[in-house]
């Protein structure tokens, strides 16, 4: 019963998202296409973080780094005249996975607050590195030399096809995470989150499973970064700031950790809320701050917990 309700919810959300472009065109408000596309891109980033945070218990404050790496992979290739989407996205995935492997290998040896701090430190290092390297604009950043093109199939310069491309990737990743989490791999991962000692006693190596999840999450976020840079047509090291990691984390929490649809709801809620609040007052952080505190304290299951069929994922 509950599994069906959950699938239904996801289907409804995806259908609603698919309906945005025609609706926006009908109402003469093309801006909403951009807005929801941005929401979906962050949803993908949040989805990837949820894999390691919600299911793996890894509180990574450095996740925004992969957003930046994916963006820079595309940006640097475009700068040198390579606009082929397959190459660009391929580079984004490989680069993010590689960096995630290195950072994960060192960080996952630690735990708790130490893990949080070391992931934060790595992001800051990448951020300062990005600022210092003048070649690709430093902190001025760089304009995207040309949008990604997929060999005659798709040009990301066209707003609506781009939108559906992002939606397709979001749907695909949702499916991927669903399969991962419910596979043997996912079960071991979730076991390490709830009781690491017991997992080791059974004979699994928590370190390897966590590292694998970390790399997969990094690669997924790299794809989000590649999409992001096409969305903004501009890239800067600010993509990698630790406060942005915090934002993505909030989307995961707000939406409901360790649920499939949670990150999507969280991304939508946070970005819409920000957009709404900041048009009211310049002191919007005064309102957003306590909202976030209250959510953490009292609405632990997040928005997904409000939906019918929300089950505890144990």
């Amino acid at each position: 019963m509950h599994a069906h309700a959950r699938t239904l919810t996801i289907a409804v959300v995806l259908a609603a998202l698919a309906a945005v472009p025609p609706l926006a065109a009908l109402l003469g408000q093309p801006f909403y296409l951009d807005l929801f596309r941005r929401i979906m891109i962050f949803a993908i980033a949040a989805l990837s973080l949820n894999l390691i945070l919600g299911y793996g218990g890894l509180v990574s404050f450095g996740h925004a780094a992969y957003l930046g790496i994916g963006a820079y992979a595309v940006g640097i290739l475009a700068h040198h005249g390579i606009h082929n989407g397959f190459l660009q996205f391929g580079a984004a995935i490989v680069a993010s996975a590689a960096v995630a492997l290195v950072i994960g290998a060192v960080s996952i040896r630690t735990s708790g607050v130490y893990f949080i701090m070391i992931t934060l430190a790595f992001t800051q290092m990448l951020f300062y590195l990005g600022i210092s390297v003048g070649e690709y604009g430093g902190d001025d950043g760089m304009r995207l030399a040309g949008r990604t093109r997929f060999a005659g199939l798709l040009d990301l310069r066209d707003a609506t096809p781009f939108y559906y491309f992002v939606l397709a990737i979001l749907a695909a990743f949702l499916y991927l995470v669903h399969r991962l989490v419910n596979s043997r791999f996912g079960m071991v991962l979730r076991a390490t989150k709830s009781n690491e000692a017991r997992t080791r006693a059974i004979g699994f190596s928590p370190y390897l499973y966590k590292l694998a999840a970390f790399v997969i999450a990094g690669a997924m976020c790299g794809v989000a970064g590649a999409l992001f840079v096409n969305q903004t047509a501009y890239l800067t090291p600010a993509f990698m700031n630790w406060t942005r990691s915090g934002e993505i984390m909030f989307m995961v929490i707000l939406g409901g950790m360790s649920t499939l649809i949670g990150p999507v709801l969280g991304a939508a809620a946070l970005l819409l809320l920000e957009d709404l609040l900041q048009s009211w007052t310049q002191h919007w952080q005064l309102i957003l701050g306590p909202i976030l505190v209250l959510v953490v304290l009292f609405a632990k299951r997040g928005l997904a917990g409000l939906l019918p069929g929300a089950a505890r994922n144990e």
């Binding site: 909403y32 951009d34 807005l35 600022i131 950043g141 304009r143 501009y234 600010a238 505890r312």
Partner: protein, 402 residues
């Protein structure tokens, strides 16, 4: 898990759907666009510590609107403000929102170069006019110049060029140079070195946002330079100036700077900044009738002195005013507006000036000194003119001709 009462579920789902529908309807509603209205989007930073700059710009925009009777170019005007939070992607989203949702005719503002580099192409590609009232990255002055882009400020390098020229002319040598390690910092030093022909003892780049400069101050004291040239905007400048004075170096090694001592930072450092030299295209005491009026109005309405950010924003609105007036309110005549703006035919706070081919002003640059002011807050005073009708160094890379 208890099975939920089916009826309850249906009711809850229905309410939820209704709420979603109301929200969607609310979002879809936008005020009917009156045909004869002028809409200007203004992007600046309103939150966080840099919000103090955005506040100054917003104040000046409001002042300009008041002086024009809330009618820019004779049309009822609405200004939509956006807070970029110092983030280029937020700036771009604001620009998208202003262009597509509010359907503004002009986008103005932008403090930061990296935000402008994301926003300006968005605006010009959408066929609308972009007026920068602060940032002046060299890309937009050179290769990426655009006929829909205008600046009412300067090109980033020009201000340090003026300081380099002044110090060179004075025969000052053995200069120690410091700036934060980011794009603007490096640009400032490049601009300085373009005109400074003396000897530079050392070039030190500090961490962006660094608070404590004691280590660097010890280093520079050991090198014993004859003068110090720095670029430390915002909070960095306040900290640096204070710590420099506390180290007792003010009397020993004269301090020359750009974008460090200004009307926003002086109230926080007060006497610690006395005797510092700056170069700028404008100062509150610049004796131009339009400026004297602007400064007087600003002081009366807000109780403090405007900064150059505000002065530039004021000019931005007046520039738009001259353009709309010239086409008699026909906002569809963009070519006409561009032609009008190129004439720079309005009362600018800097006095009469002309536009260069790349739509950046050709203007004077002055040497300013921090001197005692009324009360205990020092003020900036013009000492002499360093450059007359100074052109930026990138216009030759711009392909525009008119």
């Amino acid at each position: 898990m208890a099975i939920q009462d089916p009826e309850e579920v249906t009711v809850r789902s229905a309410i939820r759907a209704l709420c979603a529908g109301v929200v969607a309807a609310g979002l879809a509603c936008s005020p009917a666009v009156a045909q004869q209205k002028l809409k200007i989007g203004f992007i600046t930073t309103l939150s966080g510590p840099q919000g103090v700059i955005g506040e100054d710009m917003k104040n000046s925009v409001e002042l300009a609107l008041d002086n024009l009777g809330r009618k820019v170019g004779g049309l009822d005007t609405e200004v939509i403000y956006g807070d970029d939070q110092v983030k280029p992607d937020v700036g771009k989203q604001l620009a998208d929102e202003m262009l597509k949702k509010h359907q503004v005719d002009f986008v103005a503002g932008v403090i930061w170069s990296n935000v402008l580099l994301a926003v300006a192409p968005t605006v010009t590609d959408a066929g609308k006019l972009m007026i920068s009232t602060n940032a002046g990255p060299h890309q937009l002055a050179g290769k990426e110049c655009n006929e829909r882009f205008f600046s009412t400020s300067w090109q980033n390098d020009q201000t340090p060029e003026a300081m380099g020229k002044y110090m060179s002319d004075q025969g000052i040598t053995d200069v120690y140079v410091m700036a934060p390690n980011y794009a603007a910092g490096k640009d400032m030093v490049t601009g300085f070195k373009r005109y400074f022909k003396g000897k530079i003892v050392d070039e030190v780049y500090t961490k962006l946002g660094q608070a404590d400069y004691q280590a660097e101050i010890s280093q520079l004291r050991a090198k014993n330079p004859k003068a110090l040239f720095v670029f430390y905007p915002g909070g960095m400048g306040i900290q640096f100036m204070r710590q420099y004075a506390q180290a007792g170096l003010r009397q020993q090694i004269p301090l020359y700077s750009v974008y460090t001592a200004d009307e926003l930072s002086l109230p926080a450092v007060k006497e610690a900044a006395l005797g510092q030299w700056e170069t700028r295209f404008w100062s509150p005491d610049l004796q131009v009738p339009a400026n004297e009026k602007f400064v007087a109005y600003y002081r009366k309405k807000y109780g403090k002195t405007p900064s150059f950010y505000g002065a530039q924003s004021y000019d931005g609105i007046m520039l738009i005013d001259s353009a709309v007036r010239a086409v008699k309110g026909n906002l569809k005549d963009q070519k006409g507006m561009i032609a009008a703006m190129r004439k720079a035919n309005f009362e600018s706070i800097r006095g009469k000036f002309t536009y260069n081919v790349n739509h950046f002003p050709i203007e004077n640059f002055y040497l300013l000194k921090v001197v005692p002011g009324p009360g205990d807050v020092p003020q900036m005073k013009i000492e002499k003119t360093v450059f007359e009708n100074h052109k930026d160094s990138y216009y030759k890379e711009c392909g525009m001709k008119w």
